[in-house]
Symmetry: C2
Subunit: 330 residues, 2 copies
């Protein structure tokens, strides 16, 4: 199995990306990784890991799409960027999957334009995994499609279902529609129409779920438009940081707090691990004709390694074939 990795994407590229690749080939024995990006910069990083494992190679790309460049225009213009060239490796079947912590919009755009969409899917969606009190939930879409039609959300529900069953190994996961109330009369016309469609076509649809249900774990697959999903995701990240900061401020105000923290060190580390996004292996871009995983721009070494692991699992489980069959069936 060959995985293309965007060596230039993310806030700490290429150092973190290269280190993540090295960790991944050590942990997952049966994969090869192609680092796509500026030859010289990648080689400089690889020097730190001599001898470089033979399962790691480089594909030179002279350009970089920066984090805040407009997606569509930069994909059209920068043909020799790491993102566009890596997607090319999937297009010509040289690689089986692509992992990037770079410009999310550009990854979505390049994948959609150059790989195309799966039959029966009209828009791609970004899915994220969320730690909850009852295990992991999945939310789709968190930003690929900010002005969707009800049909697109129906397709997200089908893909979420397949992903949950095949990658997260839970049969008949519950599927809910994110809304401002549980009653089917609630919400905008768009949400009401979507509710009707999901009720008719998705067997394990449990109806509307509210913002409070995302982290309670009351719903396995939370379906929403990309605008709302993106806001919910970023609010959550920010709140988790703010609460940690508040807690730290309070805990370090006196000597009791400082001793207490020493005693609690192991617990606090476990707590941090539980809510740490880097444990959860990146966000699959579902609906494109290829396996693509999008990582947080701030990804650390472990996050990159886990994202590569997630890509590997998707390839092994043949996730896209399953999606095509399920869409056909419904």
């Amino acid at each position: 199995m060959k995985i293309a990795l965007d060596a230039m994407g993310g806030d700490f590229a290429p150092a973190t990306i290269v280190a993540g690749a090295i960790q991944a080939v050590k942990e997952f024995k049966d994969i090869e990784i192609t680092l796509v990006g500026k030859n010289e910069e990648i080689e400089k990083e690889l020097l730190k890991f001599k001898p470089v494992p033979r399962s790691i190679s480089i594909l030179h790309a002279s350009e970089v799409i920066e984090m805040h460049e407009p997606a569509a225009a930069s994909v059209r213009r920068k043909k020799d960027s790491s993102i566009v060239k890596a997607i090319g490796l999937l297009e010509n079947k040289t690689c089986d999957a692509f992992v990037s912590a770079g410009n999310t919009g550009a990854v979505v755009c390049a994948a959609t334009l150059n790989l195309g969409l799966l039959p029966g899917i009209e828009r791609p969606g970004i899915a994220i995994l969320i730690p909850t009190l009852k295990g992991v939930s999945l939310m789709i879409d968190v930003g690929a499609n900010i002005d969707p039609k009800p049909d697109h959300l129906f397709q997200y529900a089908v893909m979420a279902n397949v992903y949950f069953q095949n990658v997260l190994n839970k049969m008949n996961p519950s599927v809910g529609l994110l809304n401002i109330g549980e009653e089917e009369t609630k919400g905008t016309d768009f949400v009401k129409e979507t509710h009707k469609l999901l009720s008719e076509k998705i067997l394990n649809f449990i109806g509307n779920v509210e913002g409070k249900d995302i982290f309670s774990g009351n719903c396995d697959c939370v379906i929403c438009d990309g605008f709302v999903g993106n806001i919910a995701l970023k609010v959550s990240e920010s709140l988790a940081e703010t609460l940690s900061e508040f807690l730290k401020q309070e805990l370090t105000r006196n000597i009791f707090g400082k001793i207490g923290i020493l005693l609690l060190r192991a617990s606090l580390i476990r707590f941090k691990k539980k809510i740490d996004y880097s444990e959860y292996g990146g966000a699959p871009l579902l609906g494109v004709d290829g396996i693509v995983i999008i990582c947080h721009g701030r990804s650390n070494v472990k996050a990159i390694k886990n994202a590569i692991g997630a890509a590997k699992k998707e390839v092994e489980r043949n996730i896209n074939i399953q999606i095509i069959e399920e869409i056909k069936r419904i």
Copy 2:
């Protein structure tokens, strides 16, 4: 100053509401409270606080609008409900403000229909106060208007500005538009149009802000549509609870954790207080021709008392006159 209080609204009504009223008249010397609801039930609760302060009176209302009843229909049908009768007290100027922890939709609907809107305001908005790393922020709207026009968001920005200056005592608060990216090219057509309008008309507009900016405190007034705002609010409440639960689970797993918690008791209580919604005194419904404060359904005694305090402050600061003048000026 006379404040009408919905004695039947909220998960713990009337007990918690009556207790909150008693606390409020003790703390705020110059107010009178009219408890609106079922005479018999209220009197039974008041028995617990003998002698009942003379500044507390009862207005009997034989009906209750339950939490999950459809708003408009129940306001039309239940003319003798606590919500409709309390709004009547504002309408005929018997009371200066109304506080309710009952059915939010019904409060918004009764206030809009029976009090009317301020000149220049086309839709009411619910504003909430948010604890951040840099003090308190305000977010509007969190659910009164789920399908707004750009003009409505402009009016929210004006009202948020006035509220922040007059009630939260900060001159020229920053105003931001909630979006999925900072660039003005980001977001749906609706958000882009709103961005243009705010740029032209709101002096202290700082542009788009993202989900992550809500709790960082980078923006004083966060403007959004009621659908997105409601989801963001409920996600936040739920995440805060989930994180506390995770932390508790981890901390109580062994003897070190348990000793640690004893040492940290005071810190943890201060932490809880900082993020506790009941400290922040309810959410003002801005734009209606009257002072109306909406409380969380789960409000405890302190939350009700603080909401009454917030209502008092709004009346003292003549907030609606200020809004009318500011709208006229722009």
